[in-house]
């Protein structure tokens, strides 16, 4: 018949967990560390885990293309944020969602989600890997669509106490930079970004708040882009002159993203040059055609220019560009411009055309963007004499090769101004080829020469650890806060934590300020008892300090109030009842009352009146002191009585003086003082187990 095993809260002093694990912020690139491709950055802080991006490496296939997922436990990830739809940022998402234990939430922007599905379905179709090497199939993509949630630019969301929102990143339609805020520590992940406004996209925004850590791309390292209008002029000039000499122009470009920008340029150029109207521009991408609806819809993610044009007609309704389905449908009779994917000339239509045209010096190949290491496009930039065709034969490379970058990645000028404006204390470089990244790092170090900025270039699976000592602030609200206390006063109440916010309140206010509620449990137990009521009172008085007798207001039956917590009521001649409101002490009082009553009715009184009768206070006091001193001595050894009734405890030459009445301890040694104080408190609660109820 023991009461429930709840220890009195005032006695509860668990050992302090000395670890400061929670304040360590760890960032680990699982991909894109000192490389371009398979972007994936893992971050954890205070038990919250975030994964940025989930891409594949375009130069590898099958499992080898994945980021190093085996370094982490996918089930611990709370949120996965995808910056944009490019394969190296989003293409391992179906695998991660469907084939791993990941059970968190995934977010991307509206436009990214719409294109993601089309792009990946296409990727699955065209990638020519064997079935067992397939990371996922069409069905996996469709299933992943249901799990992906959307976020709009600037919209602030909160998941498990992680707050995050995104900014426009330029680069491609729907591209976002994510800012994550965990307990006041902010991390900005730029993904791919561009600070330059182009024909249809806005430039990347400068976040309103400076982040504590900035994870930034370094694709172009210390290179500088030519001004946009010069690049555009070179581009159109090359094309125009090639065409006027009767040549053909091949533009290997990724189906989505920069291609739309190039088409806008070409369409406008053709409109302004009627002499070119008889020369066809082909755009060989059924995928891009399918994505056109997305481009036509999410104009609000684009810049003012496009939105103003939109008021008149849809700028993505091209007048001079016709789609091309495959090489079979291509009537190669004279000058033409063909834009085809893939951008790296690995295979597909762009390679077929390249093989066909590469030996004619009238023709030209314009490479319009960043090309990944290890692809044919990368090697022809250096204009080798010969190239190997798809069929294995070698052919002379006579066609002109032009490299005019339109890829919307930040160059050094943009990166440095962006970082200068933000002034993040920590910069982590990702998404850059090792040499470029190294050069950028050196240049940034000299840029931030004042020394307070750390620049880190982790390799894949190499963790960066940082410590944040965040002050925990709590808000005291409601009745507890009616007056602001002075230093030294005590505050007691419920500490309620939600996410990373703390509130302290009175228990009665709990339902007001949170969705929790409190309850009182009132208990009433009836016991058969036919003896005299007075006997119970007598017996109770022998055990409990305070037993008040009165009469019940309603029924007038005699009642006893035991220790201010339990009420014994004589319900009838045959039984009595015990009422109390449950809490550990009251339960104890009530239970012992019940036990006592039972023993009376069995006429086996076990409690005897102490022989001395009324024990005087002084006697009690002395006894308590004796016990206390004995117990202290058993703990600390040397305990002597000092002046003013203090006890002097000496341990290894250290002295502590304990005031037995107030519990104050004086000592030079902090550790000893704490120990003595704790020990004394425990002894007190052992000597006087039932604190008087207020």
């Amino acid at each position: 018949m023991a009461s429930t095993g709840q220890p009195a809260p005032s006695l509860k002093r668990p050992d302090p967990p000395a670890t400061r694990e929670g304040d360590k912020l760890i960032i680990t690139p699982l991909g894109a560390g000192n490389e371009v491709g398979r972007s994936c950055v893992h971050m954890s802080y205070k038990g919250k885990t975030i994964l940025f991006d989930c891409g594949i490496h375009p130069a590898y296939s099958g499992m080898a293309a994945l980021p190093y997922f085996d370094e982490i436990d996918p089930s611990t990830i709370d949120v996965l944020l995808v910056t944009h739809f490019h394969l190296d940022h989003a293409a391992s998402l179906p695998y991660f969602l469907e084939k791993t234990t990941f059970k968190g939430r995934v977010f991307m922007t509206h436009a990214t989600k719409a294109i993601y599905k089309l792009l990946l379905s296409d990727y699955v179709k065209v990638s020519k890997v064997s079935v067992e090497d397939m990371l996922y199939d069409e069905q996996d993509i469709l299933r992943s669509m249901d799990k992906i949630e959307v976020i709009d630019f600037h919209q602030t969301l909160e998941v498990n106490g992680i707050r995050f929102w995104c900014y426009t990143a330029g680069h491609v339609l729907g591209a976002a930079m994510f800012m994550v805020d965990i307990a006041g520590v902010r991390v900005l992940y730029t993904g791919d970004y561009s600070r330059e406004e182009d024909r249809h996209l806005r430039a990347a925004e400068l976040p309103q708040f400076s982040p504590d850590i900035c994870i930034i791309e370094s694709t172009y390292g210390v290179q500088l882009h030519q001004p946009r209008h010069i690049r555009e002029k070179r581009f159109t000039d090359v094309i125009h002159s090639t065409l006027s000499q009767g040549g053909r122009v091949l533009i290997p470009a990724f189906a989505l993203g920069r291609a739309q920008e190039l088409l806008l340029i070409l369409d406008e150029y053709w409109s302004n040059h009627p002499e070119l109207h008889n020369i066809p521009i082909y755009y060989a991408s059924p995928l891009a055609k399918r994505c056109m609806a997305v481009y036509q819809t999410y104009i609000n993610a684009m810049n003012e220019r496009i939105r103003n044009q939109f008021a008149n007609s849809n700028p993505f309704d091209f007048k001079h560009i016709s789609p091309l389905k495959s090489i079979e449908n291509f009537d190669d009779v004279g000058p033409s411009v063909v834009m085809a994917s893939p951008s790296g000339l690995q295979s597909g239509l762009s390679r077929q055309l390249f093989d066909k045209w590469c030996s004619d010096k009238k023709n030209a190949c314009v490479i319009p963007g960043y090309v990944v290491e290890g692809t044919l496009a990368k090697s022809i930039i250096n204009e080798p004499k010969e190239v190997t065709l798809m069929n294995g034969l070698t052919a002379p490379l006579n066609m002109q090769v032009h490299y005019i970058s339109f890829s919307a990645h930040a160059d050094y000028a943009q990166t440095s101004t962006f970082l200068k404006e933000l002034m993040p204390p920590n910069i982590i470089l990702v998404h850059g080829e090792a040499n470029e990244m190294g050069r950028l790092k050196q240049k940034l170090i000299s840029l931030f020469a004042d020394g307070n900025t750390k620049i880190i270039t982790p390799k894949n699976a190499q963790s960066v650890e940082m410590y944040y000592n965040s002050d925990k602030m709590a808000k005291i609200i409601g009745r507890l806060a009616e007056k602001v206390p002075e230093a030294g006063e005590a505050v007691s109440g419920l500490l309620v934590k939600k996410g990373f916010t703390y509130q302290i309140m009175a228990p009665d206010d709990l339902h007001v300020f949170s969705q929790l509620s409190t309850a009182n449990v009132i208990q009433r137990i009836s016991i058969p008892y036919s003896g005299a009521f007075g006997v119970i009172k007598h017996r109770l008085k022998q055990i409990f300090e305070s037993v008040e007798s009165s009469n019940d207001e309603e029924s007038g039956v005699p009642t006893l109030c035991v220790h201010n917590c339990a009420t014994v009521k004589q319900e009838s001649d045959k039984h009595i009842s015990v009422h109390w409101t449950a809490d550990p002490i009251s339960d104890m009082v009530a239970d012992s009352t019940v036990a006592l009553v039972l023993n009376i009715s069995r006429e086996m009184p076990r409690v005897f009146v102490e022989s001395e009768g009324e024990v005087n206070e002084e006697e009690k006091e002395r006894k308590a002191e004796k016990i206390c001193r004995a117990l202290l001595a058993s703990l600390f050894g040397d305990v002597t009585a000092g002046e003013n009734g203090r006890l002097v405890i000496s341990v290894d030459g250290q002295m502590a003086r304990l005031n037995r009445l107030t519990g104050d301890v004086e000592s030079e040694n902090e550790g000893l003082r704490e120990r003595v104080r704790t020990a004394f408190r425990r002894i007190q609660s052992a000597v006087k187990p039932i604190p008087s109820c207020s």
Binding site: Q155, T156, L157, K472, P485, A490, S492, K498, S526
Partner: protein
Amino acid sequence: MGTSVQVKPLSGVYNENPLSYVVSIDGFNFLVDCGWNDHFDPSILEPLSRVASSIDAVLLSYPDTLHLGALPYAVKQLGLSAPIYSTEPVHRLGLLTMYDQYLSRKQVSEFDLFSLDDIDSAFQGVTRLTYSQNYHLPEKGEGIVIAPHVAGHLLGGTVWRITKDGEDVIYAVDFNHRKERHLNGTLLESFVRPAVLITDAYNALNNQPSRRQRDQEFLDVILKTLRAEGNVLLPVDTAGRVLELLLILEQYWAQNHLTYPIFFLNYVASSTIDYVKSFLEWMSDTIAKSFEHTRDNAFLLKHITLLINKSDLEKVPDSPKIVLASMASLEAGSSHDIFVEWAADAKNLVLFTERGQFGTLARMLQADPPPKAVKVTMSKRVPLVGDELAAYEEEQNRIKKEEALKASLVKEEESKASHGSDDIMGDAMVVDASSTRTLSDVVGRHSGAYRDIFIDGFVLPSSSIAPMFPFYENSSEWDDFGETINPDDYIIKEEDMDQGAMQVGDLDGKLDEGSASLILDTTPSKVIYNELTVLVHGSAEATEHLKQHCLKNVCPHVYAPQIEETIDVTSDLCAYKVQLSEKLMSNVLFKKLGDYEVAWIDAEVGKSESGTLSLLPLSKPAPPHKTVFVGDIKLADLKQFLSSKGVQVEFGGGALRCGEYTTIRKVGDSTQKGGGAGIQQIILEGPLIEEYYKIRDHLYSQFYSV
């Protein structure tokens, strides 16, 4: 302690006037909404004109006239120069709504309250935000964060949350908690305990049938009319609720392969739909999902023809058709003209989908019982040239007198008509020359002169720059009606009108936003539980009703201020911040309860050098405190739990009987404290048997005690 909050309505309290309120937070004045009604009467903007210059920021919540109509005028004439904040759709559709208003007026009158340029310049500087974007106000508003949240009702519709020092002021009017075809319902429920809630009582007295039922009724009425060879006129707003109607019709037409033509007619119809197509981010999940999967934009509208000019409608062959035309109030725009043309034919139907603005033609028709005849003011703009101009000037004085006389005569006639005597029943269209509500006096006086011109058979050149003045369609036109309609027809027509008008009562609620009282009724009170509620916008009766309801059930402080009455709703919530020292926190053991973690702390207050308070561990033993049981016990759940533990349980007499003798009761769940959940009282009773203690242990295990 709390942040000072004051609310001062400028219009739209205890009636259905446009919405416009000033909310001051620590001296920073927000103008929340800036509405006007379809009468464009500058006098109701009087209160705004007195405060316009002291406004620091303007927040717009919906793209319709009632919420932003006065913006161009206020910016141009009243010196309103504060930055304006709205969502992208509210900005764009609001702009189009104002264009449509202007063009509709300009077509028929010398409308000079604001021009297209004024509209443009008013909307130019609008800062556009997305839902849940926390926007930190600059400079004077330092420390104030505003965030728009989904409100439903209209595309881009906003519930504004204004936060300062962790205290929220929520402005939520006209929201809809139900998901619709193109919009998600509001997420108002997600706000926990705002300090102040400003909401409306507009629909407090209406009850709404389910969406399915309401849509079906809507379609049934339309189809019935179409099959009876009648035309259907839906007077709608420019770019608000009409989007939902278009989708309902489009979907139904597609499913049932109907061929009756549908026209969406207003001056900005095609740009509206173009823009709406690009606002998918703001629409319901269903629409977004279908676009992601099929790339079919829901607003491609294959069955609906967009018209921007009423003359295009006249080219359409005369067969049964549906026309959705603006304005919803029938006060102006194409709906006004079409109504006049069609009203006399018994086969036709006017179907109102929302309650008309107070004092407009639409509202008159919606009366119960519907009026047998209504006065309609027809006005047109024609140029006055050459001799006529001269004649006009000559005759000006004479006409003035004549007109005054005539006006009084006509008025007399009207009053008879409205009394409904049988022989005047034929006055389907009574031309009221004296009704100059929307027009200046000068305009009224000239109408006599104009009449001659009209009779001369003058043709209206649409692009004339000559001086113009409005024309009241005169009695000759009306005579036509009188002659062509035979009385029998007319009676049927009245019934038809009657039917149309009867629909109003239902459809208003049905197609309009969810009622506020419903939200307050159905959601657990603690969700909306807040210290202070301010009620605005709604008829006096509705406001009073909701006020009583709130007082009884939701919270103890409900205010319904009068116009220009400033009420101080500063929350009496006390709060201060303390720092939790590492030493204290290392000793705290949290218990997890859903999203929350709870612990009891006893601490001592210390002051750091910077003067902030911090909590340190107590130096002396902690005083004992009463144990708190945290948790929400549902008897039904408890029953399940107990039976899973092998205890026989059943409900009986309001209590849970456990085993043979023990009972558990729950009392006082909602205590007097404004319906807040309060403290639950659970009573456990039983005789002294072992089972009692077992059950007690099980009960305790359902709580966290700290």
